[in-house]
């Protein structure tokens, strides 16, 4: 049987956000071909035409070209069938459709596009205690507009720390606590952070070898690459900002910051 695109149920994937994680998620699934269609909500216009979005997808300052990344040096560009009117294109046989109208999850209308699984990569909707119709938007909004399951690409951020975690919510790191996800119960899944993922995989063999009782104390430090939250040059801190280092230039600085990775660890390794 030829290399088939798509899964047995014809499931498509919705992706919210087209930043570093959103874009690379497209790269991943174009290579993998488990989903034959990806519906990507950008929530606004980007550049002046679909060609600009195609170029953004094709090249990457870190990983090179999409075709080079997937198929090596002698491969040919993979993006084609640009349909400006429908906001769609194909990459290596996988259809990608772009939605550019709404940022609030409850307005995205995943249902009309046949999407019931959404990966939210925006990092903007990480509080599962907020109602779907929260004025600034909430992750539950995806469930209202058609998604049965939502995966968020970051740890949950609960504004009101007194609130209990809802029943249909879980944090899980693949290969560590996969069993924690119950498909019958859980609708919103946090995939944790890159640091928690690394930390959990580093801790697990030692806990298995020595047992938790033998570990008297532990600490970790991460020397972490820049992320989109960094500034290029020094800027005036935002109103009410408590962490002033976030507004300093990432060029030529080592910037101290906080990480919730250790706290999050206890969610995946109790």
């Amino acid at each position: 049987m030829d290399s088939r695109i798509g899964n047995d149920q014809g499931l498509k994937l919705g992706i919210n956000g087209l930043g570093r994680i959103g874009k690379l998620t497209i790269w991943h699934h174009v290579g993998r071909k488990y989903f034959n269609e990806l519906v990507v909500n950008i929530g606004r216009e980007a550049g002046t035409s679909l060609e600009d979005i195609a170029h953004y997808l094709e090249r990457d300052s870190i990983y090179g070209s999409l075709h080079g990344f997937l198929y090596g040096q002698n491969s040919a560009p993979l993006i084609g069938d640009l349909d400006e009117e429908n906001g769609s294109l194909t990459i290596d046989g996988v259809t990608i459709r772009f939605l550019r109208s709404f940022r609030n999850p409850i307005e995205i209308n995943w249902k009309t596009h046949g999407i019931n699984l959404v990966v939210d990569t925006t990092g903007q909707f990480l509080d599962p205690t907020l109602p779907a119709d929260h004025p600034k938007g909430a992750v539950r909004g995806h469930l209202e507009s058609g998604a049965e399951k939502v995966i968020v690409s970051a740890p949950f951020k609960i504004k009101d720390e007194g609130k209990p975690m809802p029943e249909d919510v879980v944090t899980s790191v693949m290969g560590i606590n996969d069993d924690a996800y119950d498909p019958r119960r859980h609708k919103i899944i946090s995939n944790a952070s890159c640091t928690t993922t690394c930390l959990a995989h580093m801790m697990k063999p030692l806990i298995n070898a020595f047992g938790p009782k033998k570990i008297l104390s532990a600490s970790m430090a991460t020397v972490h690459a820049a992320t989109g939250s960094q500034e290029v040059l020094d800027r005036l801190p935002k109103a009410g900002a408590v962490d002033l280092r976030k507004s300093r230039s990432i060029m030529n600085n080592i910037i101290l910051t906080t990480t919730g990775a250790a706290k999050a660890l206890s969610l995946v390794i109790p």
Binding site: L13, T25, R32, C198, A200, I215, T222
Partner: protein, 149 residues
């Protein structure tokens, strides 16, 4: 994990991807037995990496720089075996000074010193915080959830 009282620090540096996690553990040794050495720690990781059903844990004995691990598929952590190290120190406890013992016990035990080895292990793990580690595993997550739908 809650009982261990984990502390976590983070710094950001001017690279575009590729991060390092330095894990420091203080381990209580057996009173009689092989001390915990870097060879033991590395063999634990080497075995765990080869046993890992999904291949998320990698072990390297090479001398890597951050750029070397960028893009390695599904490498949640690449353990830098070359850099891992351990130091063993000893707690000396005079049993006669243990609080809460009866007077008779104290006079019997006074001057009896117990030496408890404690080993500090420092372990280095790389992760490609964008594609190699996080996004590839996020992709596995999406497929895993889809399969159960």
């Amino acid at each position: 994990m809650d009982q261990i009282g984990f502390i976590a620090e983070s710094v950001r540096i001017p690279t575009s991807t590729g991060s390092l996690l330095i894990l420091v553990l203080n381990l209580q040794e057996e009173l009689s037995g092989e001390p915990i050495s870097r060879e033991l720690i590395n063999s634990i990781y080497l075995q765990a990496a080869s046993d890992d059903p999904k291949g998320y844990l990698h072990y390297s004995d090479k001398q890597n720089v951050s750029g070397d691990i960028i893009g390695i598929p599904r490498a949640a952590a690449v353990i830098e075996g070359h850099e891992n190290h351990t130091r063993t120190a000893e707690l000396s406890i005079d049993l006669g000074k243990v609080p809460g013992l009866e007077k008779e016990m104290i006079s019997l035990l006074k001057g009896t010193i117990v030496r408890v080895p404690v080993t500090q292990a420092v372990i280095y793990g790389w992760y490609d915080n964008e594609m190699g580690s996080y996004v590839n595993i996020l992709g596995d997550r999406a497929v895993s959830v889809a399969e159960d739908m």
